[in-house]
């Protein structure tokens, strides 16, 4: 039976049926949970507000790509303006959260940069005296990380001295283009760490994934079906194993009984009708914004401050990885529109704490191609740039031609991801006036980039400028902190042992509602400084395995 037939069959709701598990969200975390639960013979329904991707809609191979993708595939839901997304109130944040609704989740638009957290990320309190240690260690998680890599089809090169020894990657690293080589040259001149990029892009055919052909449009959807997203890596297998997926199903409330146990969810279906899905266990995989939003929306008379929120921590400690970018242009050609875009090279030189720098924790850098002529011109969305420089003429007229001649095909971008420390004042709350297309309250982000992050970014930008100049850069452009950079949404239902200070335990079970789980990055006590999806999927797998093993002891309504 084809995936399409299985998907179609699963999409039909069955009235009043109680399933073992209902999962909210079909992104990376929800997909992992669905696949492994279904394989264990557990009945699973996944509710996803978005739709299956249509690969013909990805414009990467077409001339209009730069024009269309800046709207249709923009990572900010407020710009995309698609009714399947919910809007986000960004009036009180320094950084806009970025995400996508659909089967495959936000990874539909991710860069596929694949990084494990480092050992120290799990021990920040013990090592650096800040925030909290995780309830488990790097070593505890490593087997799950390696298993997920095989499911996802990651390409990379083992042996990086910035990590403890690990096994080989499933696929060889993608070829390093001139961009990566130039980035590495700068690091080599400085005597700093760099390593060939690891990416969730198999370099060879793998299951439903085609080999990457370096089209370089990963951030706006891969028209080749080469970038690993769970609509291709996990869902075909999950559907065959019996999981059911209902798309255009927006969950509006988690229901509980008098004993405070979850009994299922209410969702709005594609026709705008309310439906109930009863379940013994509810798992939230709606990301660091969608998950707290749903818990806050689910507060009835028994829990007016939101479900599972006796600690008051739901929505708090939002971390989004303040991000800076350095564009560097070189005299010689680098073919810098060519992929993978992904990371060609990464550096963990400044990852660990060095207090002499004036901040704690550190950063991860990734070297990427700079893309097509419109993007590198710096002229689109001119209003933004004009406001900074005062004169729109700086980007137009003869300046446009000169900027494009200098940068297009000749430049690279280093992205600098900084660890974000948790602060309770940075949070997701419900907007008082903005609503989604079903009239449900939109999330509002209250977030300020903190002093540690500002210092961290400044230090790293200065070092990055040294590196690119050492490799011969003739022009550099810095953007910091980039407002449109909240691609990592972390920390808003923190895990911990103490129900007074945390929302879930180390297995993702809510302290207040033992048959309600969170399996996305909302549970992370700290953010690390690497891209989080590898860790998100590994933690989801660890939690799911435990749920399967303990199924007979699970408390249910």
């Amino acid at each position: 039976m084809t995936v399409e037939v299985l998907a179609e069959r699963g999409a039909r709701a069955r009235r009043d049926e109680e399933v073992d598990v209902v999962i909210v969200g079909a992104g990376p975390s929800g997909s992992v949970a669905a696949l492994h639960l279904a394989r264990a013979g557990i009945s699973v329904v996944v509710l996803e507000q978005g739709e299956w991707p249509d690969y013909a809609d990805y414009t990467g191979a077409r001339p209009e790509h730069e024009l269309v993708s800046t709207k249709l595939w923009h990572p900010n839901p407020n710009v995309r303006d698609n009714p399947n997304d919910y809007p986000v109130d960004t009036s009180t944040t320094d950084i806009n959260p970025l995400m996508f609704a659909g089967v495959g989740g936000s990874a539909t638009l991710y860069g596929a940069q694949w990084m494990h957290f480092l050992p120290s990320d799990f021990r920040v309190r013990s090592m650096d005296g800040v925030a909290e240690d995780w309830p488990f260690t790097y070593e505890d998680l490593l087997p799950y990380q390696l298993e997920i890599e095989r499911e996802v089809g990651v390409s990379g090169l083992a042996g990086d001295p910035a990590y403890p020894p690990r096994g080989a990657y499933p696929f060889p690293a993608l070829p390093m283009g001139s961009v990566g080589q130039r980035g590495a040259l700068g690091m080599e001149k400085m005597g700093w760490h760099w390593w060939p990029g690891s990416n969730a892009i198999p370099s060879e055919k793998f299951g439903e994934l085609n080999p990457c052909v370096r089209r370089g449009t990963c951030l706006t959807g891969c028209p080749e079906g080469a970038k690993s997203t769970t609509d291709r890596s996990h869902w075909p297998l999950a559907l065959k194993a019996g999981a059911r997926l209902v798309t255009r199903a927006r969950v509006k409330e988690i229901e509980t009984n008098e004993q405070g146990l979850a009994t299922g969810v209410i969702y709005v279906d594609a026709n705008g009708r309310d439906r109930r899905q009863r379940a013994k266990v509810v798992i939230l995989c709606a990301n660091g914004v969608g998950t707290p939003r749903l818990l806050l929306m689910s507060g009835g008379p028994r829990t007016p401050d939101g479900l599972a929120n006796s600690s008051g921590m739901v929505g708090k400690r939002l971390m989004m990885h303040p991000f800076a970018s350095v564009l560097a242009s070189y005299q010689d050609p680098l073919d810098s529109w060519r992929g993978p875009f992904g990371q060609q090279v990464y550096s963990l030189e400044f990852y660990e704490t060095d207090e002499s720098r004036g901040f704690v924790r550190g950063s991860k850098w990734n070297c990427m191609p700079s893309g097509g002529p419109v993007g590198v011109s710096g002229a689109t969305g001119s209003k933004v740039y004009v406001a900074e420089s005062g004169r729109f003429q700086d980007f137009w007229g003869a300046n446009l031609h000169e900027n494009v001649a200098r940068r297009f095909g000749h430049s690279l971008i280093w992205g600098i991801v900084g660890e974000d420390l948790p602060e309770e004042s940075n949070q997701v709350v419900l907007s008082k006036d903005l609503v989604d297309s079903d009239g449900l309250p939109a999330p509002q982000i209250v977030y300020k980039v903190n002093e540690n992050s500002n210092r961290l970014l400044k230090f790293n930008i200065d070092r990055c400028l040294e590196s690119v100049r050492a490799a011969g850069a003739i022009e550099t452009l810095v953007s910091t902190p980039v407002r449109e950079s909240g691609w990592h949404l972390i920390g808003t239902t923190v895990m911990g042992d103490d129900p007074k200070r945390s929302v879930v335990d180390q297995w993702g079970a809510c302290h207040d509602v033992p048959n309600l789980y969170v399996m996305d990055a909302s549970t992370f006590p700290t953010s690390g400084a690497t891209n989080p999806t590898a860790t998100i999927m590994a933690v989801a797998l660890r939690n799911t395995r435990r749920m399967i093993a303990e199924r007979r002891n699970q408390k249910v309504a």
């Binding site: 990467g60 191979a61 209009e64 790509h65 730069e66 024009l67 269309v68 303006d81 480092l118 050992p119 120290s120 799990f122 013990s126 090592m127 240690d133 790097y138 390409s155 042996g159 001295p161 910035a162 403890p164 690293a173 070829p175 080589q181 590495a184 080599e188 760490h193 390593w195 060939p196 370099s203 080999p211 052909v213 370096r214 089209r215 370089g216 449009t217 080749e224 529109w337 060519r338 963990l348 030189e349 990852y351 660990e352 097509g372 002529p373 419109v374 002229a379 689109t380 969305g381 001119s382 209003k383 729109f392 137009w396 007229g397 003869a398 446009l400 031609h401 000169e402 001649a405 297009f408």
Partner: protein, 135 residues
């Protein structure tokens, strides 16, 4: 002034001839502009306001005032101008842009960093992570 002339005047100010590069109206017609707008119907209202030009006002002054008073219209005009220009096959040829092309490769080919010793130097610099056993 017709819509066509109003837009082309603005676009030629934004993208004039320079060195080997042609001005906007040398390589793009208004039909190309309309095609671009069909890809981005969200820009149509701003675009319409942007070209409702008082013929007495010059292109630079008009853009200056749009930029100050109607950011959405300014953004629509500039986005359509630049995207249409760089979609032109002639412009792409001049800047050496084949588009986001498909470049197959041999995944088993030995990468240069393995043979020129550069990655070996990274390894030789030794361990970077901080181990955490017992913590």
């Amino acid at each position: 002034m017709s819509n066509e002339n109003a837009f082309l005047a603005l676009a030629d100010f934004l993208i004039p001839a320079h060195g080997k590069m042609p001005k906007f109206s040398d390589v793009c017609g208004y039909a190309d502009v309309e095609k671009s707008l069909d890809f981005r119907i969200d820009l149509k209202p701003g675009f319409a306001r942007g070209i409702a030009v008082d013929p007495a006002t010059g292109a630079e002054a008009r853009l200056e005032s749009l930029n100050k008073e109607d950011g959405e219209a300014f953004s629509a005009i500039t986005t359509i101008a630049i995207a249409t220009y760089y979609m032109s096959p002639r412009v792409r040829e001049l800047i050496g842009y084949p588009g986001q092309e498909n470049v197959p490769y041999d995944s088993k080919a030995t990468q240069i960093y393995l043979t020129n010793g550069s990655l070996g130097q990274v390894v030789a610099r030794g361990r970077k992570y901080r181990p955490t056993p017992g913590l």
